[in-house]
Amino acid sequence: MAGVLIQMRTAILRRSTQGRRALGGLALVLLVTLLAAGTLWAGLVRYHVAGAGTDVLATLSFGWLLGWVTGPLVTGDDAALRMDYFKLLPVPARRLARAIMGVAFANVSLVFSLIAFASLIAYGARSGPAAALAGVASVLLDLVLAVVASTVAIAVFGPVVSSRRGRDFGTMVLALVITLLSVASGLVPILARRLTNGHSPALSALVRILPSGWGAVAVEAASRSDWGLMALALGGLVLLIAVLLAAWPPLLARRLTMSVRAGGRSAARPAAARTRRPILPPTPLGAVLGKELRLYSRSVLRSLMLMISFLVGVLVCVIPAFSGNTSLLPFAGLLFTTIAAACFTNLYGDDGSSLWLTLVVPGAYRADLRGREWAWFLVVGPAGLLLTVVFTAISGQPRFWPVVLATEPALVLGSAGLLALISVVSVNAPAADGSPSPMRVLKTHVALIAVPAAALFPAVALLVAGGAWHLRWLQWLAVPAGLAWGALLGWWSGRLAQRRLERQAPEIFSRLRAA
């Protein structure tokens, strides 16, 4: 039976790894190979402090095992062999459990993990054959643990992540983790220094106590001929694997017999909303504004984009401040606004075919477009201005005041119209699985440069000229000039967008419907 399942999975994976996805897969393989090689290297280098190598390897093993266990959370069940395929099979759960576990071991990812965990053998080999052998045992047990824990995690998380809300949650977690990791990579050297110079006994104890650290502990114990501790660590791994294996069939049975619901019912609270007095005017513009503001708080894509804009904008400017460099702080609001503008340059494309509602209502185009502009302005503008004012104030660098006051309001005003214009001129429908299409991602990247360039060039020109000729008044002149240009650009590009929507709405809709 395991053989049949492996064939089935190979067939599904072959179908799904063609074209663009294959390219993405290649990038992922490269990344994972680099990570594996890096881990192996950590087992080869010499450490100045005794035991530091064990801490580092235990930490890295934790990362790899975490990847195995959280993988299903991200991909939503096993992406290829969905549990639901087996619900109707007249096969005993125990036999199916054995087969699925068998399939799990036929996994290419094990090669990368083998390279990574081999760092334990390399680390042990330096202290003699006994430690190297302990390393071999640790590697095998860690690999088995990785596969078993990952499979069990599917049964545990599966029902959660199979639902739409669960997938939303998974996507959100993944995007946030990637964002935080890329931004916080500045923190990795600090963490590494703490581990390698042995200054953090608490961190060291933590990474060793977790099951992911037991392999490294066993190797170190073997190198000291501490056989008791070695046996304890390796025995612990065996016991953990046995417990997981015993828990697997009943968990699978539960997973196969439970019905996957769409998760808890909606987050909307209309009862409260109805008793609240409406703030927005009962006009077409107010209607669109209300709808858009609700979507900003309820749509996963939108809240995600806002959150990423905020985190990247703030962290990129704040992290250097930890090492004493506060000159980026005043620009946190500007960076947040730029990213938030670039992310929302596909307002119509992201909404998909629901544009039909606007098409069947007579004369609704103007309200629809202006409502979308205002909603973005109200969501992003105040936050960007607040970030700018607060971080410039705490940066203690008053020379930046004219710079930020000339740019932030201009960017907010100009972007509101520009993003509407870009949304109408270039409409990128979501991909089949609801994720942003490659063209939409490309557009966002171009907009990251183009939107601030268009909105800020008069202000920046005055600021640069004022700086070059040491004319303070010229720099301050950039503030009203920036404001005026931003307002003009926002109004003018918004009008262009409205005209184009009025002329082209059925064509825009056809593109969205075809996708």
Binding site: R164, A262, A268, P270, G290, L357, T358, A364
Partner: protein, 266 residues
Amino acid sequence: MRGPQAPNGSPPGEGDAPALEFAGLYKHFGPNVAVDHIDLRVPRGSFFGLVGPNGAGKTTSLSMAVGLLRPDGGTVRIFGRDVWSDPVAAKALIGVLPDGLALPDRLTGREVLTFLGLLRGMSRAVVGHRADELLRVLELDSADGTVVADYSTGMRKKITLATALLHSPRLLVLDEPFEAVDPVSAATIRVILQRFVAGGGSVIFSSHVMALVEQLCDHVAVLAKGRVEVSGPVAEVSAGRSLEDAFVHIVGARPGGTEGLSWLAS
């Protein structure tokens, strides 16, 4: 058009104009002609069924009728007003239920209705009152806190129908309104539509279910390969047979399923 009801050559005046009129309507997608110079009249106050096999051009024609898809040729008039040259006047008269299109799915049903009502310039009080009634009659009031994303297919159909009815239009254009709707809801929708027609409204809807069209409609048109094969009062089109038999005869199809599969019953 080869039907009992030949189209009127000159466009009629607004006073007696038909509820919906296609004249030489044409649309192609690349080399495929989806709608091939259709002429069709939906009389005022009629309950009009549009039937045809998959790919016959039903959705394409209805999309062009309501302003969602620009025709390559021909005109569409609603009560004498051209949908494409006078869209504001024409669109004010119709309620639309398209098939398989998205709604702003993170809003609740009531929020969708409120949004649309205000977008149409209705007052908040009227929108609130009508939304209450529509949600109750369509039995969506128990799902008041549920966003449309969590609706079943049938519930989506019903909330979309509510958006079509909200502004009390004079013509309803419905694409597959009964698909994926449970029998009880289907009966509710039938009664609502019959009351609408009895009150002077006009309905055109597309469907695969012949029995339903036969039971509900007074007029029917059969579309096949982008052309109107026949159109007129149901009794004339079916000519003594059941509408289903007439349909199979008109589109020249032969029901399959009699060959092979000998192992199935053993």
